[in-house]
């Protein structure tokens, strides 16, 4: 029942911790954090002398595919993938079959996740019934059933009137509206970023503007409504400018970016390999640099994987016919740590904010994303020196559509601890 993590470098930006500390977890909650905690009577001790201890990572944008598409992923395999990747909490998007647009689906997902148990699953329910963009769902009922946010992810809410009403209605619920910003009338049946590469390689494009006009629209609506608006998987320099200016004006808006948009660019699609096909599409180096800059200046609040599992056969096809999406739960930390933290672009403390503190706050996860007595015993322990090599044949996810396959570097998860229980051990 009790777990003592000894002598780890504890980094928790929300309480300002950045030193070697012991952490005692009892009955699922953090009991004590101090320089030296007595080992007597403790059931399990982890020597974290070479490790960093972070509040448990939160991935606020994943697709678990269950119910309905269990050939791609299940709640169980997705949760195991999360644990392996250092995530103690994940928020799953509603585009299941049936859609999570009513309380029974929300409760099914939660019940199933409790049976598996290794990490916390927080469903994001649909904004519109059937994700068809017409009528808002029974949001209050689903919130009571456990929904932590609302999104029509994959399908942007195209009606400005509907997103206005959703933002207004959720003011009484205090949960975020999570927008996948994409004007479908502009992006159409686009496959990749629109620009020189899409023209040269003969692939239909999605203009940056398709994202930016929705970012602008939502910010303008939010300025008046002042609800909770979160813009997910931001991918363009133009969106970053809009969000930065909105924040400067005091408009309440948050945003996340994915590791693939931070680390990859559209040149990769010249291979026509569908493992590089996702929405929003990989953009230009200029966009990528703007995203990285926005991590440090607070324009972007969180890193989320948009873990989107597909079967091997679905992705093994002509580029145009392959579904959009890549997986990331098992690789997000590795690649971000190696490419952005070890290179000095992000401090460890900033990375913890982006992976834990901020997403926990945005999703309203009570007593998570923080290391202090009384908080949930959700902790991520990583070894900054331990090497990794990404091998898509060794994923616990059912899927292998990972654009980082073969990448090597340093920074590996050694323990994922959820509610004081070891969910994953390297």
């Amino acid at each position: 029942m009790s777990l003592l993590i000894k002598n780890g470098l504890v980094i928790d930006p929300s309480t300002g911790k950045d030193s070697k500390l012991d952490i005692l977890v009892e009955k699922g909650l953090i009991k004590k954090v101090s320089k030296k905690i007595e080992e007597k009577g403790v059931k399990k001790i982890i020597d974290a002398g070479k490790y960093v201890v972070s509040p448990g990572f939160v991935d606020m944008h994943v697709h678990l595919r269950e119910p309905g598409q269990e050939n791609k992923e299940t709640i169980e395999t997705g949760m195991l993938a999360a644990a392996k990747g250092g995530f103690t909490s994940i928020a799953c998007m509603p585009n299941t079959i049936p859609v999570n647009d009513n309380r029974s689906v929300t409760e099914y997902i939660i019940a199933r996740s409790h049976e598996v148990g290794v990490v916390n699953v927080f469903p994001v329910a649909a904004i519109s019934v059937g994700l068809d963009g017409k009528d808002i769902t029974e949001m209050a009922d689903m919130k009571e059933g456990g929904a932590k946010g609302f999104s029509d992810d994959g399908k942007c809410v195209m009606s400005a009137d509907l997103i206005r009403k959703a933002l207004e209605y959720t003011k009484m619920l205090n949960v975020p509206i999570i927008e996948h910003p994409e004007d479908h009338s502009i992006s159409g049946d686009g496959q990749v970023n629109e620009g020189f590469i899409s023209y040269k390689y003969g692939l239909r494009g999605m203009l940056s503007a398709a994202e930016e006009v929705i970012v602008a629209r939502d910010i303008i609506l939010q300025e008046r409504i002042n609800s909770l608006l979160h813009l997910t998987h931001i991918s363009t320099a133009g969106s970053i400018d809009l969000i930065r200016n909105a924040k400067k004006k005091g408009i309440r808006v948050t945003s996340d970016v994915t590791p693939h948009h931070l680390l990859l660019t559209e040149e990769l699609i010249t291979s026509y390999n569908p493992v590089y096909k996702m929405k929003p599409p990989l953009r230009t180096e200029e966009d990528r640099q703007a995203l990285i800059k926005a991590l440090n200046d607070g324009t972007v609040d969180a890193i989320a994987s948009d873990h989107a599992p597909h079967t091997f056969d679905e992705k093994d096809s002509e580029f145009e016919y392959a579904p959009f999406g890549v997986i990331g739960l098992e690789t997000s930390f590795n690649v971000v740590y190696d490419k952005l933290v070890r290179t000095g672009i992000l401090s460890v403390s900033k990375m913890v904010e982006l992976f834990s503190t901020n997403p926990a706050r945005i999703m309203g996860l009570d007593r998570r994303g923080v290391i202090e007595p009384g908080a949930h015993g959700d902790l991520t322990v990583f070894d900054p020196e331990k090497t990794f090599k990404i091998n898509n044949e060794k994923f616990v996810s059912k899927a292998n559509n990972c654009p980082f396959n073969g990448w090597k570097g340093k920074g590996s998860i050694v323990y994922t601890i959820t509610g004081g229980e070891i969910a994953y051990q390297a």
């Binding site: 023209y199 390689y201 003969g202 692939l203 026509y272 580029f319 016919y321």
Partner: protein
């Protein structure tokens, strides 16, 4: 230069070729032109080789051209046509190709509506892959037969001014031609309404014009493209009437080009849409010679990929 051999295993696009490769294909094609004028139009160069025409898009012209080219080289050829995509049929492209390859072909000629499909085949197929048109991406044999036609007229394929008019955005013929003529150091103008001629094409080495008279000025070659309404091009301009008024070629506009200029079109032509009826049939028009040259160019490509030329030299 003495060490040069044609080293391509596939013909995926003009983008993958060097200017020397292009010269070699054209020179080889020139030597094949004569065969088609013989009484017995057949040489044994590819005897015993098997060519598969794998066409996922409707095509009569290109498919027939490859078929005749293969047969004039004495190759065995089978046609595998599927107007619906393999995906919709339920069998993946990989499975379709692996099934065909179990019959041991040497060359697969593929036409597919999805850009990049020929490159995808090379990731698992054993045969040589020839791109007979992929989506909006490339149509290399078309650009090569266009180049052969120009070379026959102008005795060179360098130092030319080529104007391409029409739906550049949706045209694989335009892309292959722009790339080919950039590689050969020719001047390329592309002309059409801005919605069909994005500025970014200038990075490929073409100059963008929205006015046809400016665009074809002093051109050696005016290449008209078909308005591809089946690819949704219709939404990019208000009406055929207005398009014709601004971007069709007629005798008056054609006078802006050089006196010696020739008119080309990859076909099929829409008479009195992009091309004036009488001009299409005039002595300025090389449209049918292009078709004839298609045979020689495709013979050259098949031959270079799997002919004796590629047998071990040393």
């Amino acid at each position: 230069m003495g060490d040069y051999i044609f080293s391509q295993n596939h013909l995926l696009g003009i983008d993958h070729l060097s200017d020397k490769d292009i010269d070699t294909i054209l020179e080889t094609a020139e030597s094949f032109v004569e065969i088609s004028t013989r009484d017995v139009k057949k040489v044994p160069a590819l005897k015993g080789k098997t060519v598969v025409n794998l066409f996922f898009e409707n095509s009569t012209r290109t498919r027939s051209s490859f078929e005749i080219a293969a047969k004039r080289l004495s190759a065995d050829l089978i046609n595998f046509n599927s107007s619906v995509s393999s995906l919709k049929k339920g069998e993946s492209l990989r499975d379709t190709v692996l099934t065909l390859e179990a019959m041991n072909p040497n060359i697969i000629v593929i036409r597919h509506s999805a850009s990049g499909s020929p490159l995808y085949l090379t990731t698992f197929a054993k045969s040589s892959i020839v791109n007979a048109g992929d989506g909006f991406h490339e149509h290399p044999t078309q650009a090569l037969l266009d180049a052969l036609t120009m070379k026959q007229v102008f005795k060179t394929i360098r130092g030319l001014r080529v104007a391409i008019v029409g739906d550049i955005l949706h045209s694989r013929v335009a892309r292959s031609n722009i790339i080919l003529h950039s590689k050969m150091g020719n001047e390329v103008s592309i002309i059409g309404p801005p919605s069909l001629v994005p500025r970014e094409f200038e990075k490929m080495g073409a100059k963008v014009h929205y006015n046809i008279e400016d665009g074809v000025k002093n051109a050696d070659v005016v290449m008209m493209l078909r308005v591809q309404s089946e690819r949704g091009a219709g939404n990019y301009f208000p009406s055929i009437r207005e398009y014709r008024k601004h971007f069709a070629i007629n005798r008056k506009v054609f006078k802006c080009a050089k006196k010696s200029a020739i008119l080309m079109h990859p076909g099929p032509i829409n008479r009195d849409v992009e091309i004036d009826n009488t001009l299409a049939d005039s002595d300025k028009s090389y449209i049918l010679q292009q078709v004839t040259n298609g045979i020689a160019v495709r013979m050259a490509v098949l031959y270079l990929l799997k002919g004796d030329f590629n047998e071990p030299i040393n």
